[in-house]
């Protein structure tokens, strides 16, 4: 029965077409729909025009569906700086064909989905976004929450400057409770690698799975055999992917639930990124060690700096010449 009702009302809320106007029942704020942005588990999100510009509005599919999410957003807006989620601007009801539906209005995050971005701009972005994400998670965890339903669909890259942001905080759960909402692929319970208690390590597992998925855009499944070693399977997926391999130790650590806080995982990931971008340095070191011992350090470093400073000088001179010639021609033109 209830399912049926949900289904019907979902249709109602997702049917609103561009140009639809309404005024909130309680707060009397006017809205006009520009287009549909997407639909989540609990409702449909629209881009709307308000008195203060473009905003996003989520309309719930039944009477109670949005209340959890609104409660979470409200808690977030009390946190200083309001960095934990999109800021909540209005909470009200809308009447659609005689029925009341709840809705809320939030900041409109304009950007590109994580996976699309990584495909277009290169996998070297992924570890950077994961570092950003871990920073945000750490702050969220310190406020006593766990995100829960962390997945690429809930992440967006805003910018420039490119920055990962999350939205759809409907699954956000107080620490120590049972996770409210999850998606199997990113859920440690599904992989048999833990329970569904809201603790920081739950989010870190999902983060590791998101990282893995950037290399395997089609979610793979666990083997049907109940006795299979899923950790071993994930380990193999990581080993077979060159972009993931440098981070294998960190990923496995997160999958095993060994990181108790996001800060530590972030630190180790940053170190791993450093090591990856280091190969030039190691080559330099090696060539240095070949040098005879009696040479002094100072002279060595000077020697190796030379070619670089020479290049910089050349570039500076060239750009100066170019700039002055442009100015000269401009002068001629006038």
């Amino acid at each position: 029965m209830m399912e049926k009702m949900n289904f019907q009302s979902k249709n109602q809320a997702s049917k609103l077409s561009a140009g639809t106007k309404w005024v909130g029942k309680w707060n009397k704020n006017p809205y006009r729909i520009i287009r549909t942005l997407g639909s989540g588990a609990t409702g449909v999100v629209y881009l709307v025009e308000t008195r203060s510009g473009q905003r996003a509005v989520k309309i719930g599919e039944n009477k109670m569906s949005l209340t959890s999410e609104i409660n979470v957003l409200k808690h977030f807006s009390k946190v200083r700086g309001n960095v934990l989620g999109p800021s909540l601007l209005d909470v009200d009801d809308i009447e659609i064909r005689g029925e009341m539906y709840p809705f809320f209005c939030m900041e409109y995050l304009k950007g590109e989905p994580l996976l699309d971005f990584a495909k277009k701009r290169g996998t070297e972005w992924v570890p950077v976004f994961i570092v950003q994400l871990l920073g945000d998670l750490d702050r969220l965890h310190q406020e006593g929450w766990v995100f829960g339903d962390l997945k690429p669909e809930n992440l967006i890259i805003t910018g420039p400057p490119s920055r990962v942001r999350w939205f759809d905080v409907g699954g956000t759960t107080k620490q120590g409770r049972a996770i409210k909402e999850y998606t199997e692929f990113y859920d440690r319970g599904y992989w048999g690698l833990g329970d569904r208690k809201a603790e920081p390590s739950y989010d870190l597992f999902s983060t590791a799975m998101i990282f893995i998925q950037t290399a395997y855009p089609h979610r793979f499944k666990k083997p049907a055999d109940a006795g299979s070693d899923n950790l071993e399977l994930l380990r193999r997926y990581i080993s077979h992917s060159p972009p993931l391999l440098p981070y294998k130790k960190i990923l496995i650590h997160a999958l095993k639930g060994k990181y108790t806080d996001a800060q530590l995982m972030k630190k180790e990931l940053m170190e791993a990124i450093d090591n990856r971008t280091a190969p030039k340095k190691t080559v330099e070191k090696q060539s240095r060690s070949v040098q005879p011992k009696r040479h002094r350090k100072k002279t060595k470093s000077k020697k190796y700096k030379e070619p670089q400073s020479f290049r910089t000088e050349l570039i500076l001179t060239a750009s100066f010449l170019f700039l002055s010639s442009v100015l000269y021609f401009m002068g001629q033109w006038m």
């Binding site: 959890s68 909470v91 009200d92 709840p102 199997e184 319970g189 599904y190 329970d195 049907a224 109940a226």
Partner: protein
């Protein structure tokens, strides 16, 4: 706040009952006794969305519970979702009832301003986390269900993971029907965790008839028996208000 107790029967089946009384009638009776009946209809392919699936909806509707049709591959997530949803529904019902007593008959939740509604929902959330839950799982093992049983098994241990991540206590019991000699067979009596079901489902002989009605009845009886035993040992336990709301 003292957490109460919620009682549910979870029926997993793939089609029509063909023996004994109307399962919807038994479900309605269970509902009167404060036991919610949830039904998950397991679909083969698009083909059998027929009469059997209508019955699934009817049983859950009479039993005051939630029903969902699903393919065997999506069973895990559905089972835990239906159980939680039914729990929230029951709790909302209780909280609504209390509110109506305070606010007067005519007032519904949606008449409250969004702020107050949020506060009520937080109470429901809190209760859902801490309430004690008893789920009697009733699995149809008629011949057509045989290939789906590994999925059922997985879904049940997944349910156990989900519910045991809560603060409140859980108790599970597992019944299969048809049983070897009787309508139903008890394979697991009340226990806080569903583990090691592997053997149970492997040595199973699947039968031809589907006595859904009688099976629901023995599930109901099993709840009563527990209650009877309990009240001899320990009278003063706080029961949840929904249980008195029957009759």
């Amino acid at each position: 706040m003292n957490a109460g107790k919620i009682k549910q029967i979870l029926l997993l089946t793939d089609g029509c009952s063909n023996q004994g009384e109307d399962p919807a009638a038994v479900a309605a009776f269970a509902n009167e006794k404060g036991i919610t009946v949830n039904v998950i209809g397991i679909l083969e392919h698009e083909s059998n969305r027929g009469k059997g699936m209508k019955e699934v909806e009817n049983i859950a509707a009479s039993g005051g519970g939630v029903s969902q049709l699903v393919y065997a591959s999506q069973l895990s997530q559905t089972v835990q979702m239906v159980t939680k949803q039914a729990m929230t529904q029951t709790l909302q019902g209780v909280v609504h009832g209390e509110l109506r007593q305070i606010l007067g008959e005519e007032r519904e939740m949606e008449d409250l301003p969004p702020d107050k509604r949020g506060e009520v929902m937080e109470v429901v959330d809190d209760l859902g986390e801490t309430v004690n839950l008893e789920v009697l799982i009733l699995v149809d093992t008629s011949a057509s269900m045989k290939p789906k049983l590994p999925m059922v098994q997985e879904a049940l241990s997944d349910l156990s993971i989900s519910l045991n991540s809560r603060t409140g206590n859980n108790n599970f019991a597992l019944f299969l029907f048809p049983g070897k000699r009787k309508d139903t067979e008890k394979v697991l009596d009340w226990t806080p965790k569903i583990n090691s079901l592997t053997d149970t489902f492997h040595r199973l002989t699947t039968g031809g008839v589907t006595p859904t009605g009688p099976a629901l009845k023995s599930a109901l009886y099993h709840f009563e028996k527990r209650r009877g035993k309990r009240s001899l040992i320990d009278d003063g336990e706080d029961e949840f208000p929904i249980e008195e709301s029957g009759f």
